[in-house]
Structures are given as structure tokens and as C-alpha cells.
């Protein structure tokens, strides 16, 4: 009924659909089409090559590890930013968004300058036999960098809305601070932590710019899947690039659905807590 009062439904929806169709959907269809060109056999052959397997393993394994690290440090940082007042808190809070705003190529060369064997921190770590840049740990470090804000920004509003009565009740019943945190607060944060984990994971799996500088890109060792796609393109192996791209895309879709489910769960959970 109300629909008729407001104008522009056809125009706005038509424009949005056309634009989205041309910019996003048509190109993705082209990707799937090109990938299907090499057939199931070709796809399996490509995916079973040791180099592709190693790259996929690093991209997904590294991203999972980076997301786990981000959940731990993200929880610490979000907790401190929400619960404590200290000098410079607002500045540190603003700093959390830096990986969102800093172009990935800049992050990539900056991290490399820090962690390369002759870098600011790298030459010091070398004394202890720790190599970060030009090895898998460098890949994971860059993935932690780009994924970090997702966990903090997902946790902050939930931590702010936590009901303090529950904590006070636990403490008045004799629980220690550690017990209160691990037995009372942490279980309430599980859905939010999982959402942050999935968001950080989704970002890290496809990350390219900040990783390729620090990775060293040694095939079979520190070469990520997106870089392998670029290399296939440079060799004019369009079908191979499309096939690998499709695999990554399907993984992204799966993560997107998972995130939607987790966000719904965490939203319901937050309502119950209040």
C-alpha cells in the first residue's frame, strides 16, 4: 500500500541490478565458464599438482593460524580498550583501523623492512635463529596484520553491552578473576569470537598485496594461491588461472555463508544477554 507513495522503485532497482550484473555477475560467470573449459579431469589434474597443493595449503592453513592468533590478541586488545581507561586509549583505538586504511602494498613493504633478515626487528630475531620474512611465518604475520581489525571491531560492541551483574554475581559467589573470565565471560563471547575468526579468515585467505613482499614467494614453501593465479596468468594459462580462481571463489562463498550464519547466531545471543 505504502509502496505506491514513494517513487523510483523501478528506476533504482533496475539501475542497481544492471550495474551489479555488469560489474560483478557477468565477470564471475566468465570465470566459471573459463574454468569449466578444462573439465573435471583437468581440474583434478591442476589441483593435484604438488605446487598448487602447497600453495592452497599455505593460503588456507596460514589464514586459519593467523585467524587463531587474531582471536587471542584481538580479545586482549578489545578487552583492554573497552574495560580500562588509560592515557592514549583513543589513539590506540583509532590505530586498530590502520590495516583497513593502509594500502596493502605499503603494509607489505613496511612489514618486510621490519622483519627481513637485515630489518629493524629481523636482524635482532636472526640472533635467535628466527626467520620471519621470506618464509611461511612472514606470510602468517602479514595475514595477522590484515585480519586484526575484524576481530577487535566485532568484539568491542558486544563487550560494551555485557551485563556486569553476572560478573559481580560470580565474584560475590567466590570466583576468582580468572575463573570469572574463563567460566562466565568467555562462554558468552563464543559466537562473537567465531564471527571475528571467520571474518579475519576470509580476509586472509585471499590476501595478496601485503603478503607477496614479505613471503619471498618460494614455490612449494612460501608461495600463496593468489600469487599462483597471477603467475598462471603471466604464462597465459588462462584456464588454469580460472580453475584455481574458481576454487578460491567457492571457498569464499562457503565462508560468506558461514559468516552470515554466525552473525545471526551472535546477534540472537547478544539479544538474550541483554
Amino acid at each position: 500500500m505504502r509502496r505506491r507513495i514513494l517513487p523510483g522503485f523501478g528506476l533504482s532497482l533496475g539501475y542497481a541490478l544492471t550495474y551489479l550484473g555488469l560489474i560483478v555477475l557477468l565477470p564471475l560467470v566468465a570465470l566459471a565458464w573459463k574454468a569449466s573449459g578444462i573439465g573435471v579431469g583437468g581440474m583434478l589434474h591442476l589441483l593435484s599438482s604438488p605446487r598448487t597443493l602447497a600453495a592452497l595449503k599455505l593460503s588456507f592453513g596460514g589464514a586459519i593460524l593467523a585467524a587463531i592468533i587474531n582471536v587471542c590478541f584481538g580479545l586482549l586488545v578489545a578487552w583492554v580498550l573497552v574495560r580500562y581507561r588509560f592515557p592514549g586509549r583513543r589513539l590506540f583505538d583509532a590505530l586498530v583501523d590502520l590495516p583497513f586504511a593502509l594500502p596493502t602494498a605499503v603494509a607489505g613493504i613496511a612489514l618486510t623492512a621490519l622483519y627481513a633478515p637485515n630489518g629493524w626487528l629481523g636482524h635482532w630475531l636472526k640472533h635467535y635463529g628466527i626467520q620471519i620474512a621470506y618464509a611461511p611465518p612472514g606470510v602468517i604475520l602479514a595475514m595477522v596484520f590484515v585480519g586484526f581489525p575484524f576481530v577487535v571491531r566485532t568484539l568491542q560492541p558486544v563487550l560494551e553491552s555485557l551485563d556486569r551483574d553476572v560478573e559481580e554475581a560470580a565474584e560475590s559467589l567466590g570466583a576468582s578473576h580468572a575463573q570469572t573470565f574463563f567460566r562466565v565471560i568467555l562462554p558468552m563471547l563464543v559466537p562473537t569470537l567465531l564471527t571475528g575468526f571467520a571474518l579475519a579468515l576470509a580476509r586472509a585467505v585471499g590476501e595478496y598485496g601485503s603478503v607477496i613482499f614479505i613471503a619471498g614467494n618460494i614455490p612449494m614453501r612460501s608461495e600463496i594461491a593468489p600469487l599462483l593465479i597471477v603467475e598462471k596468468l603471466e604464462e597465459f594459462d588462462y584456464a588454469g588461472a580460472a580453475a584455481l580462481g574458481t576454487v578460491m571463489l567457492i571457498a569464499s562463498f562457503a565462508l560468506l555463508i558461514l559468516i552470515a550464519v554466525l552473525q545471526r547466531w551472535s546477534g540472537r545471543w547478544a539479544e538474550q544477554l541483554q
Binding site: 528506476l11 550495474y19 590506540f92 585467505v205
Partner: protein, 285 residues
């Protein structure tokens, strides 16, 4: 059993201080230090070397190209964002949730894939490659490809800011304007636009930062032709790979300043107009 066990005050204090120290140390080493290293490395050989690196012809061309690409792609995504938000926040239709998911899609796709799809469409072996070659139109390894890849990557920003805000604002004011006889565009410019202006600015800010800083997607379609198809992030990469570290970090400082300016304006908008920007879905940027 229920004996209240109060810890001494000082132990709790020390616990807080240790947590704050751990968190700030992490943020400093992990986030502030990479930012600092960009500026230190850029000025390693002094101000003159820095200025001469920025003044290089290729660097200036890269700056110009970056501004051009952003100047085309950001306005296009603003129009799309407003149209999509109007349709999604003001009307009910089938497949609305699906449309929302598709708008978010570019955020969850690897930047490399965002570039790859256009190579498959317009590249030499792509769907339209033959036709484009016959008509002497260049998209891949040329500016149109850079613009398309940038539009793809930054498509969700404006729509994502506007949709939740317009949904929460409701349509009462717009309906009142219509009932009082306002035309469609009159209602849009007098009622809708003023209501969403700060959220729109917020979306434009984030969209622009990403458009100017995008690396992966444009890297795939650029072809790295010096002075012609290298945007600033690509110029950073090329200088770095040539071991011209002062040059690479000098151009990088400009991008870092863009990031700092974006974060400052973002913080200012959130502080001053937080209510008019509405609650943000976490992890959206």
C-alpha cells in the same frame, strides 16, 4: 563455602596494568611500528632524496593516474550505492536478501580474482578479446581495466553504509513530502539526501581510500607499463622490486598519509555525527 574472598586491591591493579601494557605493546609493535618504518625509510637519505623521489616523472604520473581512477570509480559507486540503498531500504521485493549478499560479494573475493575476471572477459583470449582487438579498443593493460577492477573492489562501500541507516530512519519524512506534493527528485534532494549526507560522506571516504590504495586487483589488469598504467601502489611495487627503496617508501608515505587522513576524518565523523551515521556492521571495511 560462600565466604567472600576479596583480593587485595594492589594485585588487581597490577593485573590491570599488565593487561594494558600487553595490549598497548602489541598495538605499538604490530601496528604503529610498520607505519613508522615507512616514514623513516623514506627519509633515510635525507629530505632532498625524498623530494626528488616524489618529483620523478613516473611518480607524478602514478599520482595523476591514481587520482583519475578514483575520480571515475568513486562517483559511479556513489550513484550505485544510493540507488541500491533506495531500493533495498524503501521497498519489499523478492530476492532482497540475495541482492544484499551480492552487493557484499566483492569484499569476500580475493583481489586477484577481481582482476582475473576482467582479464577473462576483455583480455586477448577473453570473451570479448577478439572483438575489442578488431575495433582497436584496449581495456586490459590500459586505464579502463584499472577503473573496472577498482569499481569491482570498492562497489560495496557506499551501499553498505546507506542501507542500514536508511532502514533505521524509516520513510515517514519522505512519505510526508510526497503527500504534501513534492515531486520524486524534489523529495530526494530536499529530504532523503540531507538525511543521509554524513553517512554518504563516510561511505565515500572509505570507498576513496580503498580505490586509491588498491593493489591486487589493479596489479592483474595493469600490465605494469611505467608512466601509463601504474597507479601509486603499483609504482611502489615496481620501485621496491628495482631495489629503489627510498623511491618506494617515498611514494608509500603519500599513501600512508592518505590512510592517516582517512582515519582522522573517519574518527571525526564518528565523534561529531555518530548518530547520523548509525551503527556500523563490524568488519565492514
Amino acid at each position: 563455602m560462600n565466604r567472600p574472598r576479596r583480593r587485595p586491591h594492589w594485585s588487581r591493579r597490577i593485573g590491570h596494568v599488565l593487561l594494558v601494557l600487553a595490549a598497548t605493546a602489541f598495538l605499538t609493535i604490530f601496528l604503529a611500528l610498520p607505519l613508522a618504518v615507512v616514514f623513516v625509510e623514506a627519509f633515510r637519505q635525507g629530505l632532498r632524496a625524498y623530494l626528488s623521489a616524489i618529483g620523478q616523472h613516473e611518480a607524478l604520473m602514478a599520482i595523476r593516474l591514481t587520482l583519475l581512477v578514483a575520480a571515475i570509480s568513486v562517483p559511479l559507486n556513489v550513484v550505485f550505492g544510493v540507488a541500491a540503498a533506495w531500493a533495498m531500504a524503501r521497498f519489499e521485493f523478492r530476492g532482497k536478501a540475495l541482492l544484499g549478499a551480492f552487493i557484499d560479494l566483492p569484499f569476500s573475493v580475493s583481489p586477484v580474482i577481481s582482476g582475473l575476471v576482467y582479464v577473462l572477459l576483455f583480455g586477448a583470449q577473453g570473451w570479448f578479446g577478439r572483438w575489442l582487438e578488431l575495433h582497436d579498443v584496449k581495456i586490459i593493460f590500459a586505464i579502463p581495466g584499472l577503473v573496472l577492477a577498482t569499481i569491482f573492489i570498492t562497489l560495496p562501500f557506499v551501499a553498505r553504509e546507506l542501507i542500514p541507516l536508511m532502514q533505521s530512519q524509516g520513510s515517514d519524512e519522505e512519505e510526508a513530502a510526497r503527500v504534501l506534493g513534492a515531486g520524486g527528485w524534489q523529495m530526494f534532494f530536499r529530504v532523503t539526501l540531507p538525511n543521509i549526507r554524513w553517512a554518504l560522506l563516510y561511505g565515500v571516504l572509505l570507498c576513496n581510500a580503498r580505490a586509491m590504495g588498491e593493489f591486487g586487483a589493479v596489479s592483474v589488469v595493469s600490465g605494469h607499463i611505467r608512466g601509463l598504467t601504474t597507479t601509486m601502489p603499483l609504482e611502489v611495487e615496481m620501485l621496491y622490486n628495482e631495489y629503489n627503496y627510498v623511491g618506494a617508501f617515498a611514494v608509500a608515505t603519500l599513501l600512508a598519509l592518505l590512510a592517516l587522513a582517512t582515519l582522522s576524518i573517519k574518527a571525526l565523523l564518528e565523534w561529531r555525527y555518530g548518530d547520523e551515521i548509525a551503527a556500523h556492521a563490524p568488519g565492514g571495511h
